[in-house]
Symmetry: C3
Subunit: 232 residues, 3 copies
């Protein structure tokens, strides 16, 4: 288990102070977002940052905070589609090592009934894919519809609300804020609250850095405003 705290402490007492007092002592303890959700957010950020070597520390913490191995494995699968295969293959390797250490037998609900997505919002999503993706790449449109939304999002191993949370975090962490409106609205439709979003942004400021979060904040502000008083 790699512990990142000593590194900072030996270099200078100040970042260690921020880590212990501000990040772990204050941010992680705030009640607005559960430790389990903070772990999910942090693991997604660590994977997005291509820091698989830090993942055992945070994934171990995620299990301690109540994320099940089934959810954790599915988080990596889900993120493979949002962060790319090569990044997430390394993350999967870290989970294998963690599960071996903890003697966890991973298994998924292969064969369990797939979730049904809301038909109306699926129709809107599909027609947007037809309008904007299909004219450029039919094959990309098909895989978006059939694999990503038709299969991954419908798998019951991770709740839609958690998939949405992980997706929004991935978009923020890689700096693709222009795609947040769709996924932030979807996240709120799937049950993520405004106050949880507020906490996610502050949590991510430390883990993904202020610039990513500031750009996300500007997009989130517009989305929240529009939901409060939708244009007629």
């Amino acid at each position: 288990m790699q512990d990142i705290l000593p590194n900072f402490g030996e270099v200078s007492p100040r970042p260690a102070k921020y880590t212990e007092q501000v990040l772990f002592g204050e941010i992680w303890k705030r009640p607005g977002l559960s430790p389990r959700d903070r772990s999910l957010v942090t693991c997604a950020t660590v994977i997005a940052a291509n820091r698989a070597s830090d993942l055992q520390f945070y994934a171990g913490g995620a299990l301690d905070n109540g994320l099940t191995p089934r959810e954790l494995s599915e988080l990596v699968t889900h993120l493979s589609f949002y962060l790319g295969w090569t990044i997430c293959g390394a993350a999967a390797g870290e989970l294998v090592a963690l599960y071996a250490e903890r003697r966890i037998e991973p298994h998924s609900t292969v064969g369990a009934p797939m979730l049904e997505l809301d038909p109306e919002s699926e129709d809107r999503r599909r027609s947007s894919v037809e309008d904007f993706v299909a004219p450029v790449s039919r094959i990309l449109a098909d895989h978006t519809n059939d694999v990503l939304f038709g299969d991954v999002w419908r798998n019951p191993d991770l709740a839609p609300r958690d998939r949405s949370l992980a997706t929004v975090v991935a978009l923020i962490a890689i700096g693709q804020a222009e795609q947040m409106p769709f996924h932030l609205n979807r996240a709120m439709d799937n049950g993520l609250s405004e106050s949880e979003i507020s906490e996610v942004l502050a949590h991510l400021a430390y883990y993904a850095g202020w610039p990513r979060v500031m750009s996300a904040c500007s997009v989130a502000g517009k989305v929240l405003k529009e939901r409060r008083s939708p244009p007629r």
Copy 2:
């Protein structure tokens, strides 16, 4: 040779299914883009993702699929300018190990005649650099003209069409889609077809993740539309 498949398989059977059935079983086998080009695209994405440790697997596959060592080495050189020296130094290190394993003597066409770029499009490119780069940084404008376009792009070790393909992939993979119009037009002028672009986008959805590709798709849509019916 690191194989990323077992990692996914031990964590959960589902991502392994996607890898084997969808990615390798379907995407890689589509006829719209040659296996050699898919390897070039994948290697560029793996380098852009700073996953040099996965490169031996994919670079070995690239040689098997017909990319020559000369092209592969020049791909890394070319990407050094588009992804930065520090990322590509690590990639070069992996190629050294791969070539040693395969007993390949790398060599380049130092001394071979340089390619001539189309004078008219070079004039347009230079005057755009004078207008937008030179007022901010004369030295950057000079290195753009003399080193990047005057030397790198003219080297015969990698065809202009392949340089364009690698450059477009790099822009998508790092999320710099706003610079795609210039390079996508250049890629098509250099021989990349619309149907190949369609395949590249679907291929990259898996390797660079959906968000990068969706943003690229939106830019590519505008470029393709304008080429089909250019503004008068």
Copy 3:
């Protein structure tokens, strides 16, 4: 000490030529930016690129070029806020190893008086945070004001001009150019000159890659133009 030069040389003589003749032989020797500043810029870029393993080479060079261990440690602390905790924890680990090798006792000015920031520009910054951040996340606004600007930026271990330089470099290297206007103006208020900015952009073209720098150049051009003839 890892040396990245041999990698390129064994793959092909061409990138080695660019490294030796163009990058080290020309760019690093240009008088418009001091070697010490070039080291600071390069270290920040290497950290942003998640290439901690290259940091010993460049951080060692930074010490040789006159950056003090105190400044170097504080650079990593500062960047933790701009690039995220997980990336910079790895960088801190490399500094620990470097300091051990050079028998350097790191220490910081804990207890030294904090710097005072210009009250007028602090007022403008705070009111912008109230307008754009607080409505989305009160906690993020508070940590921006109290921790990032109220504590980190006021620490005397790194001069405000150097913090600004590192921040601008981080924004360019991760492709968050839309946040450059605030920080580039702040950098120039803190003493960074136009000609230094011009050199930073050319230096970064090699270390962060041309696309990041081209997007930054377009933003920098607008900022410089506006400072020369501010709108009335």
